[in-house]
């Protein structure tokens, strides 16, 4: 966008980007450096030797996987319905769903707490998976519906003429054709579920079921206030997220370009 031809101009531009990027890197450097202070890598060994650390990762994985499966299935069905079927009062349903986009999870705290206790879902994964999925679906439907709207109707009509019912149309047209936008949905849902702090904090009491976002407070208790080990645990929990992002980065940008910007 900027057009700079002279060499000093080019160097100036490069320097400006570098200077602006440094503040984003500093906390990450501080985190790694802090985790190695004092005992060095022995800090990591100490953290990993706390056997229950794996429970936190397993819980987070179960919850993220549950939310992703639920959000994917529900979103695909709903977005297909909104995009390609005639439904009386469709706009009303759609706005009801879109209004949920403005909903902060913290306002659900009291009713969810009361309901979870009454139904016996308290302290189970479901108490976290269901509200998380419910909160992610509206945005995902918005993205995917816009995307399916872009698929020509003729394709579905051709399938129908060939004798495919709408469910086969869903299975053999919608599912494969929506892959690019599904990648964006997958990543947003993964970040949302993996990073959520409030719901596990309130609904998961059993340490064996707690998620990685509760790990820092667990370690602050475990190592009283040995900051280096707390930071080592932070690095260990941040690492899978960074690796996941780096390996999905391409997919993510394509997904965004496919639908998020419209």
């Amino acid at each position: 966008m900027f057009e700079v031809r002279s060499l000093p101009g080019k160097i100036g531009l490069q320097l400006l980007v570098t200077l602006l990027t440094i503040p984003f890197l500093l906390p990450l450097i501080a985190m790694v450096q802090g985790s190695l202070a004092g005992a060095g890598f022995a800090n990591y060994a100490a953290v990993l030797s706390v056997g229950s650390i794996w429970n936190f990762f397993i819980s987070s994985t179960i919850i993220a996987a549950g939310v992703i499966v639920l959000v994917y299935v529900v979103t695909m069905l709903t977005a297909y319905g909104f995009a390609k079927f005639r439904i009386p009062g469709k706009e009303v349903y759609f706005w009801l769903l879109l209004a949920c986009l403005t909903l902060p999870e913290v306002v659900l705290l009291a009713p969810l707490f009361a309901t979870a206790v009454q139904t016996g879902l308290y302290d189970t994964y479901w108490a976290v998976i269901l509200p998380l999925a419910a909160l992610q679906v509206p945005f995902a439907v918005l993205l995917v519906r816009n995307f399916i709207n872009g698929i020509p109707d003729e394709l579905f009509e051709a399938a129908r003429v060939d004798g495919a019912n709408s469910f086969r149309g869903f299975l053999y047209l919608v599912i494969p054709l929506t892959r690019p936008i599904a990648a964006a949905v997958l990543i947003f849902t993964l970040i949302g579920a993996w990073n959520n702090y409030l719901l596990p904090l309130v609904f998961l009491q059993d340490p064996a079921k707690q998620t990685i976002t509760l790990l820092p407070s667990y370690f602050i208790g475990q190592f009283s206030n040995d900051q280096t080990k707390v930071l080592a645990s932070a690095v260990l929990t941040a690492l899978p997220e960074v690796i996941a992002y780096l390996s999905l980065q391409r997919l993510f940008e394509r997904g965004l370009a496919a639908g998020a910007i419209k």
């Binding site: 900027f2 906390p27 709903t78 319905g81 005639r86 209004a99 009361a114 309901t115």
Partner: protein
């Protein structure tokens, strides 16, 4: 016009699947594949609309109770929770913090996000590396980064260390420990976390701007700043409106960072609606009061969303 549309214009699927009356609906019927799409959207409606609206209704009811969350016989108190809330200086402090927080973080993120997007569209070397560094904070959980920032901005943390080494030793202070600076630290952390998303969305939107318009402007003698102001900035309007909405709702629901970094303190200096709701509902057992604040938060979020939608649409119409 719609009713007089000839039947032949209607696709065969509708004509065979639906009634003639349905087919007569013309334009609308054209896109439909079968009469009843309701079963398809039902799972989504049950999961999201069902769960969430049930919760909102329940919250509205609870907000008229004096309830500890457990006792089977809550006391009906009408609107007392609301009057109590409006008389509470902590509540008004939280509102003030939220507004200030939104205005500052949104402005800074927009400027930085635009700047990064423009710069990285300008053939700088190692663009992927910069992109990755700016975006990594987006995927990191606040809960995991909170201990890092508590140390980073602490009295003997790295931030003060850096200030000392670049000759600004005079302004070192316990940034998180005093009311005057704690909120600003939280804003800096939020900008650190979300600029990556702002940048990526602007970057994608700028990729869609027609290159020939840019070239035409340059041939007409427009400089870099002129191109950004007159072509790129209006060209990414839609993204800016969407980001304003995300930012406003994000500010209203702020909870993780203030709770984990400063516990909403010192002296309520970093109090937000989210931290009030959590503290009242869970540790304090004032579930009714928490519900009243929740309902207010919800109303504010809806007003904000509608306001931004309408403003965004008006400006779009003016532009076209």
């Amino acid at each position: 016009m719609v009713t007089t549309e000839p039947l032949t214009d209607v696709d065969p699927a509708t004509a065979t699947g639906g009634t003639v009356a349905a087919a007569r609906r013309g334009r609308k019927g054209r896109r439909a594949l079968q009469p009843h799409g309701l079963p398809w959207i039902l799972p989504g409606l049950v999961l999201s609309v069902g769960v969430l609206y049930y919760c909102i209704g329940y919250t509205a009811v609870i907000s008229t109770w004096d309830w500890d969350g457990i006792s089977p016989n809550p006391e009906q108190v009408g609107l007392r929770n609301y009057t109590q809330m409006f008389a509470d200086p902590i509540f008004w402090g939280a509102i003030r913090n939220t507004v200030l927080f939104f205005v500052i973080t949104f402005t800074v993120q927009t400027v930085l996000g635009m700047l990064f997007a423009v710069l990285l569209h300008s053939r700088v070397k190692l663009a992927v590396l910069y992109k990755v560094i700016i975006f990594i904070p987006v995927v990191l959980a606040p809960a995991i980064m909170a201990p890092v920032f508590r140390q980073f901005f602490g009295a003997d943390g790295q931030f003060n260390w850096i200030l000392e080494h670049i000759g600004l030793g005079a302004i070192t202070q316990p940034w998180l420990g005093q009311s005057s600076t704690a909120l600003w630290v939280l804003m800096a952390i939020t900008v650190w976390q979300w600029t990556g998303l702002t940048f990526v969305l602007y970057y994608a939107a700028m990729g869609q701007i027609d290159q020939s318009i840019l070239e035409a402007a340059r041939i007409d003698g427009a400089g870099n700043l002129r191109v950004i102001w007159s072509i790129i900035w209006p060209g990414v309007r839609g993204t800016t409106v969407a980001l304003a909405m995300l930012g406003a709702i994000g500010a209203l629901k702020t909870f993780d960072w203030p709770w984990l970094v400063t516990v909403a303190g010192p002296n309520h200096a970093t109090e937000f609606l989210g931290t009030i709701i959590y503290r009242q509902t869970i540790p304090n057992y004032h579930v009714g009061y928490g519900a009243a604040v929740s309902i207010l938060l919800l109303v504010l979020a809806l007003i904000m969303a509608i306001f931004l939608q309408v403003r965004g649409r008006e400006k779009n119409e003016k532009a076209s």
